[in-house]
């Protein structure tokens, strides 16, 4: 049995490496078939043909795709993501600057969505086929079909203008904070600046909510259905017949079994949040990874596009693998 798990993890690892290679290849090809020359994009409308040629040569873009790809891969194996054409810095540095910022937002959004989605899902399941259930499930459908651009702007105006709370950016620029973790909320506390902490805390809520609301709706619907499905099963009926308290039935018997699809979706969605927050990062002036990718695409900064998509893919694939392995522990049936 233990051998099975090791085998499974090994198999999963090989699969991850293969998917990663696929991603590298696809992103490499995609960024090259985008119309528009990076040299022109950076030098601007007044670029002279000589300058364009020189820059193209400097960046090795005059080589054929196979050579470019070989160089890229060989640098990758040495842990080198290359340099940004526009900024001149190494891509890994640009990503490391942005990654904590994105993570802080995504983790907050994730916690919010779990805190909203799952309890409401349990509530809807317990009161299934009542008016409350109908209202909750309708809200859930609404929440994940609502465009995030609109939701973001509405929340910006509601929190910023109607409630008069601080919005936009991670913290009021007038606070000077020393950064230790890269997570503003933690760093303000480490600085012992309570006012700055509250400022940062209030600022993360609207963008985090914008990301969290669709996921919360999804989790609500999913946990409701999953719980209902489990509720109909024989062992629950048995537990109820044994006159176990309702809470024990709910949390010990039902929820444990209903958790599986929720873990999967939540895990995958975490990775989606890291990639999918370009709009939110733009609206709320949040300098994260999503915006780095966006800026790189608009400037055809190939190395940054490739590097950030690679990092995002690693996160995505790693989470996928972790979710699969978690399965084994949650659902003993897979162990067989």
């Amino acid at each position: 049995m233990a051998r099975n798990i090791v085998q499974y993890i090994f198999y999963r690892f090989i699969q991850s490496v293969l998917s990663l290679f696929g991603v590298i290849l696809i992103v490499f090809i995609l960024s090259r078939i985008l119309p528009g020359n990076p040299a022109v994009a950076i030098l601007g409308p007044k670029a002279t043909p000589e300058n364009i040629e020189r820059v193209t040569r400097e960046w090795g873009l005059d080589k054929n795709y196979l050579d470019q790809f070989t160089i890229y891969i060989s640098r990758l194996f040495r842990g080198d993501l290359g340099d940004s054409y526009v900024m001149g810095y190494s891509v890994s540095r640009l990503i490391m600057e942005r990654l904590p910022t994105s993570f802080e937002l995504v983790i907050t959004a994730f916690i919010l969505s779990l805190a909203i989605g799952i309890p409401l899902g349990i509530l809807a399941a317990r009161r299934h086929d009542t008016k409350l259930d109908l209202i909750l499930t309708s809200l859930a459908v609404m929440s994940f079909s609502f465009p995030s651009l609109l939701l973001g702007v509405l929340l910006l105006i509601f929190f910023g203008v109607n409630l008069g709370l601080p919005v936009g950016g991670r913290i009021d620029p007038r606070y000077s904070i020393n950064f230790y973790t890269g997570f503003v909320i933690l760093d303000t506390l480490l600085n012992g600046n309570i006012a700055a902490f509250f400022d940062a805390f209030m600022r993360i809520i609207p963008p985090a909510l914008t990301l969290a609301i669709p996921l919360a709706g999804l989790l609500l619907k999913l946990s409701r259905n999953s719980i209902l499905e489990v509720m109909m099963q024989d062992f629950v009926r048995t537990a109820r017949m044994k006159r176990l308290p309702e809470n024990v039935v709910m949390y010990k018997h039902i929820l444990r079994n209903a958790l599986l699809p929720i873990v999967t979706v939540a895990g995958l969605y975490f990775a989606v949040l890291v990639t999918g927050d370009i709009v939110v990062e733009t609206i709320f002036a949040w300098p994260g990874l999503g915006r780095l990718v966006w800026e790189a695409v608009t400037l055809r900064d190939y190395m940054v596009i490739q590097g950030s998509v690679l990092v995002i893919s690693i996160i995505y694939i790693a989470i996928n693998a972790v979710v699969d392995i978690l399965y084994i522990y949650i659902d003993p049936r897979i162990r067989g």
Partner: protein
């Protein structure tokens, strides 16, 4: 409800937490004896090295950390001494001598000398960054004595002093490294920190040669979405906002808590046509298009008065602009447009294929609406236009490969001299995007840059404007105004027609 107690406790805790944080954030805004100016903008700089910078966001920071040899008189595009106290040229404007101000110190304490100017220009030429083409005119730089530097040009070039106001002419100290991140200039502010994509903090250079700036610190905050910048301005989180969109200008100008300054700019926006192709090789057709566009509607309705009309190749704010152009330039005239179209051989547009108009609204959002009006206007005379909205790199690619029927774009000058509109945009040896080729224009444009006498130059540019308008190489559209919004307590800010943002004289009362 078995856990209703817990729910109630949780709700109470949350409500208290929100209430506390609300009061705390309201009451304890960072109090400090320092005068801090918070500036909101929409773009992040790409580099802080004057040899590499060729975008507005980078320039704003560089202009305040460095000084150029030549400056502008407050609120104008007229030249004034800065690091150079005076300058002069030989008779045919091919050798320029600059006399440097004495006793100017870099942030690292070293002194500005002619050697450093020579080094800085040569460094920029060697680095070959995006703006390096501006130095192509320089053959060599000679040090005459400690404070006198001489530029020997490859050919006579009378706009040279205006070129010397560009950021690439900012001296950098010898042997400085990593200037793209850690700039060291002679300017009124020093860089304290730059968190990419988020903010830049500048601190006052107390030893500035013109005296210390009026604020202790400038924080430049990046709001990629202009709507968020507007909210931040209205909430008072930002003292000064650069990059507010035209559609927000009307509402903000009515806000009693906010001040606005505006100035006619130097950017021109036009509708270009591909003379290499039929039907645009037909001057009558190009004229018909010029008459068919309802410029007043575009400026007053679409742009809500945030631009003025462009009648010819030059915007009104540059010297050499001939006001006569407003008389002979094209105005909306539907009948004349139809008549000219018929004379061109396309009565009511018969025989004309669908024309493609490429734009990039990613670069300027309002361009999409303007293009739609032009499409409608041309439809009225029988010309069918298809608008293709591209992202900026794709647009540039097609523009440079001359793969278009028509395009809309804007032009921002690198130096304020008619030369920087006429040569790149209308001479066949310039960028020549349209394929326009008129030997009279080619010769006059070359002559005008080689004449040192101002009056003679003005006469040539007057003639050039007339010739170019007669040829109707483009449809001349408009000149966007520049706007900056600020809190009522911000004083001393002066807006320049050139994109020169100067924090030095700004005060907070």
């Amino acid at each position: 409800m078995p856990f209703s107690r817990k729910v109630i406790i949780a709700i109470v805790v949350i409500v208290i937490a929100i209430a506390v944080s609300l009061t705390v954030t309201r009451l304890t805004l960072p109090q400090s004896a320092q005068k801090i100016l918070v500036v909101g903008t929409t773009y992040d700089p790409k580099t802080l090295d004057p040899a590499q910078a060729y975008d507005i966001a980078s320039s704003i920071v560089i202009q305040n950390v460095y000084d150029t040899l030549v400056g502008y008189k407050p609120g104008t595009s007229e030249l004034t001494p800065k690091l150079a106290e005076k300058w002069e040229s030989n008779e045919n404007a091919s050798i320029w001598t600059f006399y440097l101000r004495k006793g100017v110190k870099f942030h690292d304490g070293s002194e500005l000398t002619a050697d450093i100017v020579k080094y800085s220009i040569e460094r920029a030429k060697n680095l070959q960054g995006p703006p390096a083409f501006l130095l192509d005119v320089i053959e060599r730089v000679d040090v005459v004595d400690k404070y006198i530097v001489r530029f020997v040009l490859k050919y006579p070039f009378s706009p040279f002093p205006s070129l010397a106001a560009f950021t690439i002419f900012s001296p950098v100290p010898l042997n400085a490294t990593k200037l793209d991140e850690k700039p060291i200039g002679t300017g009124p502010f020093k860089l304290e920190s730059w968190k990419k994509g988020e903010q830049i903090i500048l601190v006052a250079n107390k030893d500035y040669w013109r005296g210390s700036p009026k604020v202790d610190k400038v924080i430049i905050r990046i709001y990629p979405d202009p709507a968020t910048l507007r909210v931040a301005l209205e909430k008072g989180e930002v003292d000064l906002a650069l990059g507010i969109q035209p559609q927000d200008i009307e509402a903000l100008s009515k806000n009693p808590n906010i001040k606005m300054v505006s100035v006619d700019g130097l950017v021109i926006e036009w509708l270009g046509m591909n003379h290499r192709r039929s039907p645009f090789n037909n001057t009558l057709l190009r004229k018909a298009i010029n008459y068919a566009i309802d410029y007043d509607y575009i400026i007053n309705v679409v742009l809500r008065g945030t631009a003025t009309r462009l009648y010819g190749p030059l915007p009104p704010a540059v010297f050499g602009y001939d006001p006569e152009v407003e008389k002979y330039g094209y105005r909306y005239n539907l009948e004349l447009a139809k008549k000219l179209l018929a004379e061109a051989g396309y009565p009511e547009g018969k025989g004309l294929r669908e024309l493609e108009l490429i734009i990039s609204s990613a670069e300027r959002a309002e361009r999409k609406d303007v293009a739609a009006v032009i499409q409608r206007n041309l439809k009225e005379v029988g010309v069918n236009v298809k608008i293709v909205d591209l992202d900026w790199p794709t647009f540039l690619d097609r523009l440079f490969n001359h793969d278009f029927d028509m395009y809309m774009v804007d032009w921002f000058p690198d130096y304020v001299d008619p030369d920087d509109w006429i040569v790149p945009l209308f001479a066949s040896y310039g960028l020549n995007m349209d394929g326009y080729n008129n030997t009279v224009v080619n010769e006059l444009a070359l002559k005008a840059r080689q004449v040192a006498d101002l009056n003679e130059r003005l006469a040539i540019y007057k003639q050039l404007q007339k010739v170019i308008v007669d040829d109707a190489p483009w449809a001349f559209l408009y000149v966007p105004k520049l706007y900056v919004f600020m809190q009522k307590n911000v004083e001393g800010f002066v807006l320049y027609p050139v994109y020169y943002i100067d924090f030095y004289p700004v005060e907070k009362k």
